[in-house]
């Protein structure tokens, strides 16, 4: 497969965004889990990410020039019942190939649903299942939006370590969230006509989507383990490292692409902001460090009696 700037940027963007939309936040017992940026967590919530902004350079490959891409995303999630929610997301992309014309346009819309089927407050544990649908043909081909859809059923999990023994109390603020999913393209291959009239056929593999986050909650440390005297804004910060990966499984494709994203989440009463570095895990995933930032609103806290409550109670 030729790696054009648009395709390269799309791969990087997929690594950043896949496979979820509208990352959730929530509680399991006394544990507050923030909304993560690159990997979806298991919570069903009413929330809005506005905006999520990412910036990434991508390198040239042979005759193909490098370039840079800036993405601007909006995601919203809504609870239908206490444990079942839906979400939708849109991304506007700006791709600037080195020496080429800038391409602008919307990527394919993403929609999905999630059902939380297990929660153990004592163990700060939660598991849910969901399906993400990247809706083919709804975006601009100029920015690499695919003409076919990809459906990704996935399992999501979260676990806080507040149940560790007191001898390990300073590890209690640790938590992990993660997901495993199976990406199913609705078309096995895509045929395109190049600028010079040449016909290219690209095979679309099934993919194993996986990722997780490791987070250390300073609010948890302060409120439940030991007050170490942190003041604002540090007492609401959650250092996090996210791993967002995708492994091609068949149709002539193989290997894993993805990014490791170390960053900081600041979670307030009804809003959170976050910033992460986006570090490609290998050459196929890119060779420069990008940035991912997000402003996120907890609609259940902002509008507890209207927008922020389940439609069916």
């Amino acid at each position: 497969m030729n790696l054009t700037p648009v395709r390269g940027a799309t791969l990087v963007a997929l690594c950043i965004a896949a496979p979820g939309i509208a990352e959730a936040h929530g509680f399991a017992g006394k544990r507050f889990f923030p909304a993560t940026l690159a990997t979806d967590d298991p919570f069903v919530a009413d929330e809005l990410s506005l905006p999520t902004v990412s910036f990434q350079k991508f390198s040239g490959n042979g005759d193909e020039p490098g370039g840079r891409e800036t993405d601007f995303s909006i995601d919203v999630a809504k609870r239908i019942t206490e444990n079942f929610g839906i979400g939708i997301g849109a991304t506007y992309k700006r791709i600037r190939p080195a020496g080429g014309d800038t391409q602008n346009g919307f990527d394919n819309l993403a929609a999905g649903f999630k059902y939380k089927f297990y929660q153990n407050d004592m163990r700060e544990a939660i598991v849910s299942a969901g399906v993400d649908w990247d809706i083919g043909g709804t975006g601009s081909r100029h920015v690499g939006a695919e003409s076919f859809s990809t459906v990704t059923p996935a399992l999501f999990f979260g676990k806080g370590f507040g149940d560790l023994p007191s001898s390990m109390k300073f590890l209690r603020p640790l938590a992990v969230t993660g997901l495993v999913g199976y990406g199913i393209p609705t078309r096995s291959s895509t045929t395109t006509t190049g600028d010079e009239g040449d016909i290219e056929t690209e095979r679309n593999p099934h993919t194993f989507e996986w990722g997780f986050s490791i987070q250390y909650s300073l609010p948890y440390l302060q409120s439940f383990v030991q007050d170490v005297g942190l003041k604002a804004p540090f007492n609401r910060m959650i250092p996090v490292v996210e791993f967002a990966m995708s492994t091609a499984l068949d149709r002539g494709a193989s290997g894993t692409t993805g990014t490791v994203n170390p960053g900081i989440i600041w979670a307030g009463q009804d809003i959170q902001w976050a910033i992460e570095a986006v570090i490609p895990v290998n050459h196929r995933s890119g060779n420069s460090v990008g940035v991912l930032a997000q402003l996120h609103f907890f609609l259940d806290d902002l509008f507890p009696q209207t927008l922020g409550r389940p439609l069916i109670r």
Binding site: R94, P219, S223, F297
Partner: protein, 124 residues
């Protein structure tokens, strides 16, 4: 397309500012406590006081103090401070040296429930 991008950015910023300015009453988190979370004190406290990030509902908010065996030893007068609805307090008798656990469960004024616990030690 650039004007469209600018429009999207501007509209998003305006929407974000409107949301950020919206009045809200969210989950009540524990801000700090006396005795402090995880602390060791050398003088037995006569009460425990918890400061929350939101005002809480007196009728649905409780704090209790347990000794090392898990027995409640507070005076049973858990109450929200009448002068500051973000403070929850309970009296305790004169406590012997040892480890004590403070358990709380509160409902913020917008009906969100939060709960938690922490320990403190008394050493002579």
């Amino acid at each position: 397309m650039i004007p469209l991008l600018r429009r999207v950015v501007v509209l998003s910023i305006v929407a974000a500012l409107c949301l950020a300015a919206a009045p809200a009453a969210a989950h009540a988190f524990l801000d700090h406590a006396l005795p402090a979370v995880g602390s060791t004190v050398h003088e037995a406290p006569r009460s425990v006081r918890l400061w929350f990030t939101e005002q809480i509902e007196p009728a649905f908010s409780r704090v209790s103090v347990l000794d090392a065996s898990g027995k409640a030893i507070d005076a049973g007068d858990s109450h929200v401070d009448p002068s500051d609805a973000s403070i929850l307090a309970a009296s305790v008798p004169v406590l012997a040296p040892g480890k004590y656990r403070v358990k709380w469960r509160v409902v913020s004024v917008d009906s969100h429930v939060t709960e938690g616990d922490f320990t403190f030690d008394i050493k002579p």
